[in-house]
Amino acid sequence: MVAVRRVRRTVLYLVLTLFAGLYLLPVYVVAVTSLKTGAAIDLAHMWALPRTFSVGSLGAAWTQLGPNFINSLYLTIPATVISSLIGAMNGYALSKWRFRGSNTIFFLILLGMFIPYQAVLIPVLRVLEAIRLDGTIPGLILVNVVYGIPITTLIFRNFYVGIPREMIEAGQMDGAGYWGIFRRIVLPLSASGFVVAGIWQFTQIWNNFLFAVAVTTPPHQPVTVAVVNIAGSQTIQWNVQMASALMASIPTLVVYILLGKYFVRGLLAGSVKG
């Protein structure tokens, strides 16, 4: 029995390792390609390790998309902070102060998460033009904040459901009102809620392409648009294309590696379960 068990465990680990290897293959290719020198860039030897290491591809990618990378930071950081704050306030209102119709309101907010954004894109651009924010990063921030409200509200509502009602009642006994309870009881408990919502929004907004390509014009385009432009260019070598895809992925990957647990919580929260 012990022997059978050992064989089974070995097979289990072999299969898991095989699949892990398959999932990591693209990472391997991107990494070795980005580190090869110009002479070693050859489509016939894509899988070969670099003989000499060079950051030339990464440097070339950075000259192409550096400014767009900065644009993405200007876009993502404010949009993430604002939409998380709005989500916290909405989630608090919807979880701790239920009123007649609050579930209907929650439903109407949530539906905004599912819509294909093509269904609002023409009006979005018309309105941004009307308020003179078309083509700009503030315009893109506005759009990402508004369409981020459903998911951040959902994350915080589900998070605050976990705070016991007794704590709210204790606050009321002490004479605290709506905002007093939020500030003194709920907000101090919200740190991990903000981490989950913040990471989720950071990743989504950083990676967003549709709004980015529709709303912004050069030189205000974020990094995702730059990656596509570089990949579509006939004159830029494939190793630089790979390196720019890598560079555009680094911020979200770093966040994922450091705080992956919270990313997965956002992932599961986004699937609308109580």
Binding site: Y23, N90, L110, S244, A245
Partner: protein, 308 residues
């Protein structure tokens, strides 16, 4: 005391007003606006709100491109969801065997979700480029005619219907592989959470060695995962309907629109072709498809929660 509580409830309502107003305009108002535009004659650069009825819908449905889109969307959705569910369930079950380095394996299977669809598209367009990447390995293994991947123009089987050939466009399979790589970790996470919610005794029973384990899994464990499956299918369907950046970066519409999608068609028709009313018609169709499956789902989930 009583009056103050009701004032607090009013505060809750007031807090929600700005968000509701914003979404009322940006979601509901804009969808109605798009729907209205789809019924006008605005098919040039200059806005023209002359009433057109359903003419644009008829025109869109009569194009080779949109008919291809419908075929592609169905094929892509089916392959993508099936691939994600099978792979996700398989990996979740393996990870749930009380293994060492569990979090490392989990992280590896989920990390592609942290990357943008456009980065995935660029990387996979080189991995599946027939000249290099995966085909180098296949050639080394002795395959003298490796697949053309997303450059293939074949549709299998090729049944004529309307203006198009119905079947699976092989080019689309290449795109689906990249999409499954990116999103299967999501299905895995959902299934893993579902498995963890099942009482240990039931899982132990299924884990017992011998001929019964397979059957035990399908008749005891899998039915417990029904709500996980429903959730994963809904979210993956939404992702599939919205797929845009991946196609845009990896293949574009493709030869004979073999990798085109309604989302891409809408974008190019509207913003590159200035056919605003036609674009609005495609967008409205997309919205209606989404509404058909997500509204019932949301209502069910919220009801179930209210009862609990």
């Amino acid at each position: 005391m009583k009056r103050r509580i009701s004032w607090d409830h009013w505060s809750a309502v007031l807090v929600l007003v700005p968000s509701l107003a914003a979404l009322g305009v940006f979601v509901y108002g804009f969808i109605v606006w798009t729907g209205y535009l789809s019924l006008t004659d605005w098919n040039s650069y200059i806005p023209n709100f002359h009433w057109a009825g359903l003419r644009n819908y008829v025109a869109v449905f009569e194009t080779f491109r949109f008919q291809s889109d419908i075929r592609n969307l169905i094929v892509f959705t089916a392959l993508f969801i099936l691939g994600c569910l099978v792979l996700g369930l398989f990996l979740a079950v393996l990870i749930d065997q009380k293994i060492r380095a569990e979090s490392l394996f989990r992280s590896i299977f989920i990390f592609p979700m942290a990357i943008s669809f456009v980065a995935t598209g660029v990387i996979w367009s080189w991995l599946l480029n027939p000249q290099t990447g995966v085909n180098l390995i296949l050639r080394a293994l002795g395959d003298t005619h490796p697949p053309q991947w997303f450059l293939s123009t074949a549709i299998v089987p090729s049944i004529p219907l309307g203006l198009i050939q119905v079947g699976i466009p092989l080019a689309l399979v290449a795109v689906t592989l990249a999409a499954i790589w990116q999103m299967s970790g999501f299905a895995m996470a959902i299934y893993l959470a579902g498995l963890r919610a099942i009482p240990d005794e039931m899982k132990e029973a299924a884990r017992i060695d011998g001929a019964g384990a397979w059957r035990l899994f399908w008749s005891v464990i899998f039915p417990q995962l029904k709500s996980s499956t429903v959730t994963a299918v809904i979210i993956l369907s939404a992702a599939s309907l919205k797929v845009f950046g991946l196609i845009y970066a990896m293949t574009g519409p493709g030869q004979d629109f073999t990798t085109d999608m309604p989302t891409l068609n809408m974008f190019q028709t509207t913003f590159q072709g200035s056919q605003f009313a036609d674009g609005a018609a495609i967008a409205t169709i997309l919205f209606l498809i989404m509404a058909a499956f997500s509204i019932p789902y949301l209502i069910t989930v919220l009801r179930r929660e209210e009862e609990a």
